[in-house]
Structures are given as C-alpha cells and as structure tokens.
Amino acid sequence: MSSPDLPLVAPQTAHPAPTAGSHHGTGKNQRVKRLSGFDRIAVILMVAIPTLIVVGLIWLPAISSVFLSFTNWNGIGSLADVKIIGVENYTNVFTNYPPFKPAIEHNLIWLVVMFVVATPLGILFAVLIDKDLKGSRFYQTALYLPVVLSLALVGFIWQLMYSRDQGLINAVLGTQVDFYGDPKWNLWAALFATCWKQVGYVMLLYLAGLKGVDASLKEAAQMDGANQVQTFFRIVFPVMRPINIIVLVITVIESLRAFDLVWVINQGRNGLELIATLVTANIVGEASRIGFGSALATIMLLISLVFISIYLAVVMREEER
C-alpha cells in the first residue's frame, strides 16, 4: 500500500478469525473449574477492581443523575431534605426553559453538518489517498494533523481566522463580521472549525477500513465492467459496514457531547446553546439548579444510550465471529 507506516489493520489481518475462535471450544468450562483457589482469587480481583471503579465513578453517577432529575434539590442542604417532585423538571425543560429549543436545534444542526459535510469529505479523502498516489503520506499527515489537537485549542487557532478586528478572513474580505460573537454566524464558525478536525478522523477510520477490503473484490467488480464510482458504492462501501456503523455512532455521540469548542467561545450562549453547555451552566454556574440540570443530563443520557446500544450490538456481533 501507499504508506508503509500505517499498519492499520495489522492485528486483524495478521491473525485470522480461526485463531480467535479456536479457544471457544467446549473444554472451556473445564478449564475454568481447574483454577486453583489462588488463581480464582486473582481472576476475581482482576475483574472486580476495575469494574468497581467504572461502575462507581461512571454508572452509579449516571443512575444518580436520573434519580436527581425527579427531585427539587438545589444543591444546598443534605440529601435527606430532597423532595421527589415527579416529572416537574422535565415539564419545565420542555415548556418553560427558552434555551432548550435552540439547544436541541443546534445539536441537530451540528449532527447534520457532521454527516453531510465532514463524513463524506473524510470518506472522499480516504478513497483518494488510498489510490496509491505520489506524496500520499504528505496529504495524509496534513489532513489528520488537526485530529491530535484539542477542540479547545482548535477554538483558539480559528479565532485567529475569525476575529472581527484581527482575523484573517475579515482582513482579506474587507468585512467586519464578528464570527464568534454574532449569533447569526457563530454556530457556523464553530462547525467549520469542528469539521476541520473531524474530517481527518473520519478519513483515518476509512483508510483503515479500505485497507482491510479484499482487493480481489474490487478487481472482480471492475472486470464485470463497473466503473470506480460504482465499485465503491456497490462493493466497497457495503463491505465496510462495521466501519460505517462505528462512524455513524461516533458522529452522533460526539455531536451530542459537543462542548469544548463552544465553551471556549462564549460558554454556550447567544446563538451557541447546546445541551451539554446547558447542563454545565445549570450546575457550575451561579444558579445551581441540580434537579433541573439533572433532567437535562438525563435527556442526554437517554439519547446517547440508544446509540451506544446500536454500537455495542454491532461490535459484539463482530466479537462473537
């Protein structure tokens, strides 16, 4: 392949499925029984300690958020004073909280832009770079360099482009647009900068996928008279189904979790409301509306759990193969 420095699917291709499957035999349970007392304790500890940490610090808090969303806790006083008030917080979120609607809209726009701009562009770059061109390493590195930067830093770097008085875009165009400050523009400015980072990531995942596609499939299709575009959409793309689903789920989840860049710009106000920033603002800010913030957090949790389930269903099926 064009880039010897990318052993992208090495573990997958180097060890074909039979190796993984070979120890899934029937003798398995016997082996487990043969564990000595010491080994048994070792196995239990090796599982229990990490599990306790992940359950205690991630799953229990997540469940607690759901519980708190049905209470009126304001964060002051002990938990004993907490009153359960049913779905009142949710009613308030939907009917009596002006930033909620724009936040949902912005999250959806975010998702759509990642899908219709960043993802196809990433796939396109992956396909082109996979063609074994001269200098493909350079294109590849240039395109995925932003992937290693934090989104917060991306926000700062793009500020140098966007600033009204000192930014490059306004200097070149002779305009006076305040890209981060003007609610007409700031969402798009943030999205543009996010795409800059996201495209390289999608490209990387698809490059890995493309290298895993059996070359004889492509050849066979071309022998049958399919052109390259047809070959890609009818043969290559469907074969990469696991990657497609992973990119889909990652895109949805990352769009839902979008936070850093927007928080750096203006803490998610004035045209940049997102669900994640609303949750944070309700808890960390002056107001400290714990129950209400938890209702928002629970909504986030539920949406992401739907997609996490899809993801798990896909990868676990791969796993069992």
Partner: protein
Amino acid sequence: MSSTTVPRVRGQAADVPKVPHKVPPARIVLYVFLIAASVLWLFPLLWAVFNSFRDYGYTQAHGYASFGGFTIQNYVNAWQQGDFGQHFLNSVIITVPSVVLALFLASMVAFVVARFNFKFNLALLGLFTAANLLPPQALLIPLFRLFKAIQVPYWFSYSGTLLDSYWALIIVNTAFQTGFCAFVLSNYMKTLPYELYEAAQVDGLSVFKQYWQITLPLCRPALAALAVLEITWIYNEFFWATVLLQSGDKFPITSSLNNLKGQFFTDYNLLSAGSVLVALPVLVVFFALQKQFVSGLTLGATKG
C-alpha cells in the same frame, strides 16, 4: 476518475515537464485537489505559527496580512504571563498517572475476558465500552457533589476535598478511558495463540503470572499505541478540568488557555504563541510516534 487504468510511468513527468498524454488529466486534477486540500488544512496552523513570531506593534501598524516584524518575544511573554511552566507540570501530573492506571486496569479486565470464557464476558465488556461513550455531562452533578463531599487531608490535596484536586481528574480520566482500553486490549489479546496459555499451565504458572509475564509483554505494540492515543486524549481533555478544578494554578495546560483568555484577548500574536506552545507537546508526540498514534486509533475502530 475512470482513467486510472492507464499505467502511470514513473520518471516521465520529471524528464519532460509537459507530457499530458502520459499523465491522464484526471490524475492531475486529483493531485491538484489533494495538494490544495492539504495546504488548506495546514493553513490555520501555519498561520498561528507565522503570527506567533511577529511583533504586536508591527502587525498593528501593517495589518496581519503583511510580512515582517519577526521576534520571539511573544513566546517569552506567553510563557511568563501564562505561567506555562506550572501548567505543563499540571498536565504531566494528571496525564501520566491516568494513562498508566487506565492501561493497567484495562489490561487486567481484558486479560480475563480474552483468556477465559465466562458467561458474563460480553456483558462485562459492554459495561466497560459503553462507559467510555456516555456524555460526561450526564455524570457531572453526582461526581461534582461526591468529590466535594470527600474530605481528604491537606497534604493529599490542599483544597481539603477531592474537588479542586489533581486526584479528581486522575480518577475521572482513568475511569473514563479504562473502558476504551479494555475493549481494544481484549480484541488484541484474543489474537494471541491459546497454546501459549496451555503451555503456561503445564508449567504451573499462576493466572496472574500468565497475565504479567506472558500476556503483557506480547501486548506491547497495542499498549504502546494505546498509550500514545491516551496521552493525547487526556492531555487534550477540557471538560473535567474546567468543571472539577477551581484554583487557576492547578489547571492543566489545555484548559488554562481558557483561563488566560483575558490576558491574551487583544494581543493575537501572544495568543498565537500560547496556542503553539500548547500544541507543541502533542505535535511532538504525534510526529515521533505517528505510527503508534494511527494504529491506536484504528485498533479500536477496525475491530469495533
């Protein structure tokens, strides 16, 4: 794009500048497109580097779209005003233990899942993998209150609680990243030949020794790739640092930039220098260990 069936002749283009009948036009379009895209992608970074070396007074007088006024003073100022020494140290204090702990915990779970065929294996792996994908904001309230409630001695954290301490960030980052690492490592470990363990068992090696002496050394490539990936992720982590830390002097470098926004606000050359300084460690890690970084990203992705 259908013209790639014409074989490309190497060297031809170099000998004679114009050989349109040898290099298909579609190829040229392709090259132009990719080169343009690469330059476009690098541009914001190069722009930041370019301006970080320029004098504020000069750019004020001539505008940013000018050439000249080069200086390294911005770096000196950014380093001093931003207290970058302390913030880089904070990043190291938080990142190193988090990466080591996450890899250690994850490798243990992954080993058990890959080595034995228990009924709960898939569920366990799901529990870990899903944890990594939850939105952090959904856990914020309980964790915030929990860390605030836990009193610790002052030698442990001088805020007196876990909140506003390095420990809070180490713990949270570890918990979050263990899920991803467990998933990737278990996939990797499943590719190890089972005969190894049968031989080890014949030799009477305990389960822990099978993990420590056989599995971990064999997983070195995967561990290295994951370590690089995790270093960049935890170094870049912004949300938890922003909400769990309150004293400015404890912020890791990534979130401290936000803290410093006020000072850097008007001086974009200073802002550029600050950004370049923050980006530098990940860029160095990235260029030095590009192979590991990329294989780490795709290690998790191609298999799941």
